[in-house]
């Protein structure tokens, strides 16, 4: 792993970016690195679309009576925001971009096991995204991203079917990506790279893939049943003929709760890499952190009922789901403590990725702890369906997953693009995002506790102060996100040339030149060291 890289000037060297040019060379590529970039561009676009919806919502909510749009439009805005951000940004974000780029590089493989399947996943994603965008443009959908029946199946007058088709199709993109990762991680590791020498990012991607494989098909069939019910009104979820609307919620959350972990687990993996690299230490409790990813992936499937405590679900089922929800908090807590302990006696530097990583730990801690309010039956009754929920899951998904995504993007950007980004701007942006995020979402905890329900286009005036604070924060957050977009694009042309290993980090991906050649490794590396081997590890210790 510590082999010195011979530095050849980038321009004169053939790498995956300059090996061929033209639209066709990108649209027909089977190189996992190029496919990662295809994803990067597509999900950034979807992020912007979802972000615009969010900004419009926050502007609208400045006034209690609504400042911008009709309730009908507001409902379509939050539905579009949720559907696009969840299914078309957060779920594919880290796995499909960073995961696609890094899994083969980190395990010393030339590509994923099924390169064409990988490209197909992207096309499937694009088809799903186009269906959804079409639906949003052609009138919108107003069911929320949760599609609860019987509203979605019978009462909504919006474009439920096109969106359902879009989500259904995109699901298979996730499944195939997960399948590819699982097979690759099992079968394509370099000689000597045992499971407990793998970077923690790989562990988390593997755990995520398990959820992709086992959760997503249930979402697909649920959406399918919803479509059948809406088209034919045969009564699958219609109480008038014995169907149970809560069954839809069970099936929906069987996927959609683990989906939260699809978003956060890869983020945890990224943060493990960042903390190790910027404190130059092996992650404290490596084994525990690795196992906890698995524990999360498995237990996350057993807690979905906590979304249904006030729906009239059996209180006995509620009890089971509550205790399991507390259980899933434990592995997350273990991770947080281990990351924090890694800093102890480290050599900490504050490059932008590290700022994101530390921000992640703090915000994820808050997001996780506020989750306890919702796992607890009695407090959930008061808080569910309110802005408290909105704040909680944004702390996890934005404060957690997006922070990690941004951190990872900065960390590996030199490897991806071969260029450095302006460090000062990156730090400024990281701080702006952190501040803007807290100002946006912390007031929403207060709103929720005061009782303001979510998905309200208008609201009683006593909630205005917090809403204005939240909207102000959102504008800061919005600007924070635009800054990296600008300097990343700038850096692709004007950024300083990146060395193979700008951070002095460990890991196979840093042993190849930046950007890597198409084949990744000229010859298959042989791994003889543990992961994060910054200081020699005494014999017999794994930690």
């Amino acid at each position: 792993m510590s082999t010195a890289v011979t530095e050849i000037p980038q321009e004169s060297r053939v790498h995956y970016l300059n090996v061929s040019y033209g639209v066709k060379s990108w649209l027909l590529t089977v190189d996992h690195k190029r496919i990662a970039l295809l994803y990067l561009v597509s999900i950034t676009f979807m992020f912007l679309v979802g972000g615009v919806a969010a900004v419009l919502m926050r502007i609208h909510l400045i006034e209690p009576a609504g400042a911008l749009v009709q309730p009908e439009t507001y409902n379509k805005l939050f539905s579009a925001h949720g559907i696009i951000m969840v299914f078309f940004f957060l779920v594919p974000s880290i796995p499909a971009t960073l995961g696609n780029f890094l899994v083969p590089l980190m395990i010393g493989a030339k590509d994923l096991a099924f390169p064409k399947l990988n490209l197909l996943s992207w096309y499937i994603y694009i088809v799903g995204a186009l269906f959804t965008l079409y639906a949003v443009i052609s009138g919108g959908v107003d069911t929320g991203w949760t599609f609860y029946t019987p509203y979605s199946s019978t009462y909504s007058h919006s474009a439920v079917i096109p969106v359902a088709i879009g989500v259904f199709i995109t699901g298979f993109s996730s499944i195939l990506t997960g399948l590819n990762f699982i097979v690759t991680i099992h079968k394509m590791r370099a000689p000597g790279l045992t499971w407990f020498r793998l970077p923690l990012f790989i562990w988390s991607i593997y755990a995520t893939s398990v959820i992709f494989i086992l959760g997503t098909p249930v979402l697909a069939i649920t959406i399918f049943l919803l479509g059948v019910e809406r088209l034919f009104h045969v009564g699958i979820f219609d109480p008038a003929v014995g169907g149970d609307p809560l069954l839809f919620q069970h099936l929906f959350w069987f996927y959609s709760h683990p989906a939260v972990y699809i978003m956060i687990l890869p983020g945890m993996g990224v943060v493990s890499e960042l903390i190790a690299a910027f404190s130059r230490k092996r992650i404290y409790g490596y084994t525990m952190v690795a196992y906890s990813s698995f524990a999360i992936a498995i237990i996350s499937f057993l807690v979905w009922g906590h979304h249904m405590f006030v729906t009239g679900q059996s209180i006995y089922a509620g009890l089971i789901f509550s205790v399991l929800s507390f259980l899933v908090a434990i592995p997350s807590a273990i991770k947080v403590f281990n990351w924090t302990a890694t800093l102890y006696k480290g050599s900490i530097s504050y490059e932008a990725p590290m700022l994101y990583a530390l921000g992640f730990i703090g915000l994820f801690t808050m997001g996780g702890l506020t989750g306890l309010f919702l796992a607890a039956l009695a407090t959930d009754v008061h808080l569910s369906g309110t802005y408290f929920i909105v704040a909680h899951f944004h702390y996890i998904m934005v404060g957690g997953a997006v922070m990690a995504y941004m951190g990872g993007l900065h960390y590996w950007w030199p490897k991806i693009s071969g260029r450095m980004y302006p460090d000062m701007w990156a730090r400024v942006a990281a701080v702006i995002i952190f501040v803007g995020f807290n100002l946006t979402f912390f007031p929403q905890f207060m709103l929720g506790y005061l009782g303001m329900p979510r998905r309200y286009a208008v609201y009683p005036p006593e909630f205005q102060v917090f809403n204005v604070m939240s909207s102000a924060g959102a504008s800061i957050l919005g600007i924070g996100y635009l800054i990296p977009l600008v300097y990343f694009i700038w850096s692709m042309r004007y950024g300083p040339i990146a060395p193979a290993n700008p951070w002095g980090a460990k890991g196979l991906e840093w042993t190849v030149p930046s950007p890597p050649p198409t084949e990744n490794f000229e010859e298959t590396p042989v791994v003889t060291e543990e992961a994060y081997d910054y200081a020699p590890i005494p014999e017999g210790q794994h930690g």
């Binding site: 069970h250 679900q313 059996s314 789901f321």
Partner: protein, 110 residues
């Protein structure tokens, strides 16, 4: 290549067993066993599934990893069904009214 060639008579034997079990499950359905009809039908289906998986799909001679993948699929399916039923089948038990039956005290939290 990894898997060895399975003797012809094994395949034929499995095939005949599957046919026999299909006949058996149909025949049993015409006998009144009460709620055991379902149990028997599902037990026979499970045996048939195992025969197909082990012999036709070569899991008998394949790696532990394959077995884990197979088991994971069915285990998660079991989770989905069991946890959904844990709600659907217990939902009707509303809490016993405190007036009902002797010895229940008035529970009125303060």
């Amino acid at each position: 290549m990894s898997s060895h060639v399975v003797p012809l008579k094994v395949y034929i034997g499995v095939f005949l067993a599957l046919l026999f079990l299909t006949g058996l499950t149909t025949w049993v359905a015409f006998i009144d066993l009460g709620s055991f009809n379902t149990v028997v039908a599902l037990a026979i289906a499970t045996v048939k599934m195992l025969l197909v998986i082990l012999f036709f799909m070569h899991v008998r001679s394949s790696s532990g990893l394959t077995r884990v993948v197979v088991a994971a699929g069915f285990f998660w399916l079991a989770l989905l069904i069991a946890f959904t039923l844990s709600d659907e089948l217990t939902r009707k038990w509303s809490p016993i009214p405190s007036s009902w039956g002797p010895g229940t005290s008035q529970s009125q939290p303060q």
